[in-house]
Amino acid sequence: MNLEGYSLLSILKEIERGSINVEDVNDFYYKKSLQLNDKINAYITLLKPDDKKINGNLKGIALAIKDNISTKGIKTTCASKMLESYVPPYDATAVSKLKEQGGRILGKTNMDEFAMGSSGENSAFGPTRNPLNNDYVTGGSSSGSAAAVAANMAPISLGSDTGGSVRAPASFTGIVGFKPSYGAVSRYGLIAYANSLEVIGILGKYTKDVKFLFKLIAGRDPLDSTSLNVELNEKEQFKPKILVIKSFVELSKDEVKKEFYRSISKIDEEGFDVKFINSFSLTEYLLSAYYTIACAEASTNLSRYDGIRYGPKVESTGNWRDYITKARSFFGPEVKARIMMGTFILSAGYYETYYLRALQLRKLIRQEFEKIIKGYDALYIPTMPVLPWRIGEAIEDPKMAYASDVLTVLPNLTGSPALSLPVGRVREFFVGGQLIGLRGDDIKVLKIAEMMEEILKVKDDGRN
């Protein structure tokens, strides 16, 4: 059996019809993963699916879960040496919802350590390699979740998105990545990097698959006070009104720009109402507001990893400072850098200068976004301003990786739903376009993406 190019929905339909059985489906993805993982490094933990009968919407299909989402009895490492042997005693709410609806776990995917990174290279288990060209990065931090779907090593996967971590790798591997509204999916069990920015997201081959899975995991969870119910009913067909911010497109490399503008003319021809504005007034503050808030939250979230409850055994002289230095050295360099930045930001005397101002900026950015999007269904901008780079290339210039986040952090600061889908091709790679809606308009964004997919047919392999 070859399921390459099949959508999750068509697989479920075939199982329903009896033309294939779920064991063979799980076997296909498992074998493909065994065969490719040495090369791609998408999985940190791969599990052989059992063949117990499971009922529910997912009919027993095994999916990939990012390794920062807690899975009961299954190692959840955050791609860190600090958690290399940590086995959670509980399931994240999103995971238990999937299990309740007939889902099983195929494996835990590689990622940037503690979700900190945009390339998928910052992992204690080695970089994830792009299935489109193994010498290139997949984008991060949900690198393994994207690579697994792109390389047919999983039918669909869960990731997490703090500043673009689902959309960036989706864009670099040519698949669909959806970041729901803040709170639309419970974060309970998602190992925190930056609580006020992040949400569990979904990566799939097609928007319809992503929408299907989103509906299974969305909703208010009593264990997450920040969660909420978003509208899950679909409106009838409508003519989408789309707003493009030119300066965001202009930030991108020429090859990205060209493909992106081409996608605009296509949707315009097909009846989308596309309008342009020149710029977003607070663009220059997006990255600084984002990194200030993210690092501050991260520094406190990660303070619990002190070597007492987590991490390899620390050999120490008995001196507390020596002990803590050794224990904290299990973190990789990117994580250490962000903890130090966050610790500095929250220090007496700097809190007001940096942290409080970043919070004020976030408020202003939200207000500005709500103002410009009024009257439109979604914003449309490129996902990544660049194409994938060679593995190792950005490590010499970390600012290059940080700058690549400039187009993805906006929806995390505003709590908006955002989706990246392939909208053009350059050589072996794809160009990702990003739709961003008002918080709560998740289904609307998904619906527009479906319509665009239909029009653009970027990955038309005729089998979905």
Binding site: I69, T226, E297, S299, R304, S347, A348, L359
Partner: protein, 464 residues
């Protein structure tokens, strides 16, 4: 002025009336339990777990706020207070903060000491208790530091006073008065070991403030102040400068001990807790809490005395919230019964509560009203007590009174004497009386004993 003593207290009080912890649903009943039985991912700070606020904790804390005449903030926030310590599983404590844009639960309260002095209360806030470290033997000889997280996450309030006390006696009196006020709202800290812990701040003759941590109970607070004043006075006389520092209280030796290297300003890197929404105190919530507490003992006493009840009864009823609440309810049902209710509550009911270790009186007072309305017709004291006991035990009470006047039973008494004349004519008077009473009681019931005795006496005296 030069020898002025200033004492300010930070009193930590466990909200012992709560059944669960502050941020999870684990049981808060940890005393005498085996270690680490009341724990979950939240109170052990497992990666990915999230706190959710126990709403009852806010209500219980508000009771104390009102009893101390403090003002709640309409919106208050939780903060993370970061410090490394093994009993703190996240390495930050979730607490409330009054700087950095935060507000505590309440501000500007007061407590009147026995000598009439008013101590200002600066703020009251909610926070979580850490776990406990256990050293087998002593800290120096123990092979391991064992940690019990049963206490971790228990709801605490911290009450922070202004430095308004000027002697050890006043500090002791403050804690004693506070303990009484807490028990007025059911928070009986005396019944729970370690439920009230005090950080004592002492400064002598305008010198630096020294904080003595973790003093348990009013008597120890007094001793700690006495020792600290002695220590600082001695230093002062020797011309040694007192440094601002944190010291520990040694209960056994009754001295304070300096902690190492605390010369630097403490750095807690407070930041808002992103997983918890703000605490909103609505008018409706305040009213609900006020209805539940019904004021201080002083207020209750005045209320009863204003009803025209004598001081002795008023004192007895006002000292017990349950008695007072029943008194108020009866008064509401039937105002004319208030004097009788006061008598019965202060005497019979409080006797019964002690005698049978009754913890709580029924919410429904209709049975008691029934007893009081017919109190005069109840033949003797024992019968009345029987009825009251039934009511306390929650049984349905119906005072059966078939007879209201002597006229109704006159014929029956005469008939009983006539029908049994042959049997009784030769009996002694007392035997005769007992025999006839037996017949009459069987017919009319014990509750009519009094009338029957009167009538039978009369009839027999007229009988040859």
């Amino acid at each position: 002025m030069m020898e002025e003593i200033k004492v300010g207290l930070e009193v930590h009080v466990q909200l012992v009336t709560l059944k669960t912890k502050l941020f999870c649903s684990c049981s808060s009943d940890y005393r005498g339990k085996p270690p680490n039985v009341n724990i979950c991912p939240v109170c052990t700070g497992l990666p990915g777990s999230m706190p959710t606020l126990n709403k009852r904790a806010v209500e219980e804390a508000l009771k104390v706020v009102f009893m101390l005449n403090a003002q709640p903030y309409a919106t208050s926030y939780f903060f993370r207070k970061t410090y490394f310590y093994p009993d703190l599983p996240k390495n930050f404590q979730i607490t409330q903060y009054d700087k950095a844009g935060g507000y505590p639960l309440a501000h500007d309260g007061s407590l009147k000491l026995t000598n009439g002095k008013v101590v200002r209360i600066e703020r009251i806030h909610l926070e979580e208790d850490p776990g406990r470290i256990y050293y087998e033997g002593s800290r120096a000889t123990a092979k391991y530091s064992l940690i019990d997280y049963n206490r971790s996450g228990i709801a605490l309030i911290e009450i922070v006073t202004a430095p308004d006390m000027s002697s050890a006696e006043e500090a002791r009196d403050f804690v004693e008065r506070l303990t009484t006020i807490l028990s007025d709202v059911g928070i009986n800290v005396r019944d729970y070991e370690g439920a009230l812990r005090v950080d004592v701040n002492v400064s002598y003759a305008g010198g630096e403030r020294v904080e003595v941590k973790n003093v348990t109970g009013a008597a120890s607070v007094e001793k700690a102040v006495v020792y600290e004043v002695f220590r600082q006075k001695t230093m002062h006389e020797k011309g040694i400068k007192v440094v601002r520092e944190t010291r520990a209280w040694d209960e056994k030796r009754r001295i304070t001990i300096g902690s190492r290297g605390k010369e630097f300003e403490e750095e807690y890197r407070y930041m808002p807790e992103p997983d918890l929404p703000p605490v909103i105190i609505t008018e409706a919530l305040m009213q609900k809490v006020k209805d539940e507490i019904g004021g201080s003992q002083e207020e209750r006493y005045n209320e009863i005395v204003n009803d025209g009840i004598n001081e002795e009864l008023a004192k007895k009823i006002s000292s017990d919230k349950q008695l007072y609440s029943v008194y108020e309810k009866v008064k509401f049902y039937e105002p004319t019964l208030k004097q009788l209710a006061a008598n019965v509550l202060a005497n019979e009911i409080s006797y019964l509560m002690k005698r049978y270790s009754v913890k709580s009186l029924p919410d429904d007072v209709s049975g008691l009203v029934e007893i009081l309305q017919n109190y005069k017709s109840i033949p003797d004291h024992d019968t009345a007590v029987d009825y009251l006991k039934k009511w306390i035990e929650g049984e349905k009470v119906k005072v059966s009174l078939q007879v209201t006047s002597v006229n109704e039973i006159h014929d029956d008494v005469v008939k009983a004497v006539a029908e049994n004349y042959d049997k009784i004519k030769n009996l002694e008077y007392t035997k005769k009386f007992e025999f006839l009473m037996g017949i009459l009681i069987r017919k009319f019931g014990k509750e009519n004993k009094k009338v029957l005795v009167e009538e039978l006496t009369k009839v027999l005296s007229e009988t040859p």
